[in-house]
């Protein structure tokens, strides 16, 4: 799992590249766990190159969602591949998390 960061005013974009499983999800958890991430108004997750996600990867997002909401930080996913989106759907997480098709829509939220 490779994570690339891009920061603009009040928005942090994390681009995920690779597979999020029980082996690799710790890298993402470390990034989301940083205190300064809550200084942003929005954290956008670019999933274009996220080829796979297991419960370990989902668990990282589940575990940080309330913390982000409490701090007033919006967590928004975009560019999600259909097979990855399907995993969110199987659990109903697509109704608990904000997932939009494109970066433009993610930015507009």
């Amino acid at each position: 799992m490779k994570i690339t960061q891009q920061s603009t005013e009040n928005t942090l974009t994390l681009s995920l590249d690779g597979e999020l499983d029980a082996s690799s999800s710790v890298v993402l958890d470390t990034e989301l766990n940083k205190a300064e991430i809550l200084d942003n108004q929005k954290v956008l997750i670019d999933c274009r190159r996220l080829n796979y996600i297991s419960s370990a990867g989902l668990g990282v997002f589940i575990s940080h969602l309330q913390r982000f909401q409490d701090a007033g930080v919006k967590l928004v996913f975009f560019n999600m591949q259909e097979k990855v989106h399907n995993v969110f759907e199987i659990l109903g997480l697509d109704s608990l998390m904000t997932i939009v098709p494109s970066e433009a829509e993610a930015t507009a939220i």
């Binding site: 499983d21 029980a22 082996s23 796979y52 668990g59």
Partner: protein
């Protein structure tokens, strides 16, 4: 079952098993969505067995066997650890509660049960066997 692989109990081998299942399923020309679901269910069980069942002890092994019979995919995952999973004790979690308390794990078996048609865990003579089945259409 004709197609088999033996892996040691380390998280690094999760990818090895996913690739093994993916390669096996290639010949059946299934949709990306279905292939990903099957791989995911297998990955969840293998991760549980590696991490929780065998404590990531690399001296321990999982034997994984796959087959398709009568258009049904089947996989057997076998180990010899002393801890066996009890599906009877499983209750589907409340995800909204998990979000509220910031819980990191616990949704893997929820995925497995929702994806696969049949999920069986048995223990016999010191061998734990997990079998997962999914109709292929």
């Amino acid at each position: 079952m004709e197609h088999a692989i033996r892996i040691s109990c380390t998280r690094r081998n999760l990818k090895v098993v996913r690739d093994f299942v993916s390669d096996f399923l290639l010949r059946y020309h299934l949709s990306d969505l279905l292939v990903n679901q099957i791989i995911l269910a297998v990955d969840e069980v293998v991760a549980n067995l590696i991490i929780h069942g065998n404590g990531e002890d690399e001296s321990q092994f999982l034997d994984v066997r796959v087959a398709v019979v009568n258009k049904e995919f089947g996989i057997e995952i076998e180990d010899t650890n002393l801890t066996s999973y009890s599906p009877a004790s499983y209750h589907e979690p409340d995800l909204q509660e998990y979000v509220r308390i910031g819980k990191k794990g616990g949704v893997g078996m929820m995925l497995v049960n929702r994806i696969m048609d049949r999920v069986e865990f048995t223990t016999h003579a010191g061998h734990n066997l997990c079998r997962l089945y999914k109709k292929l259409g």
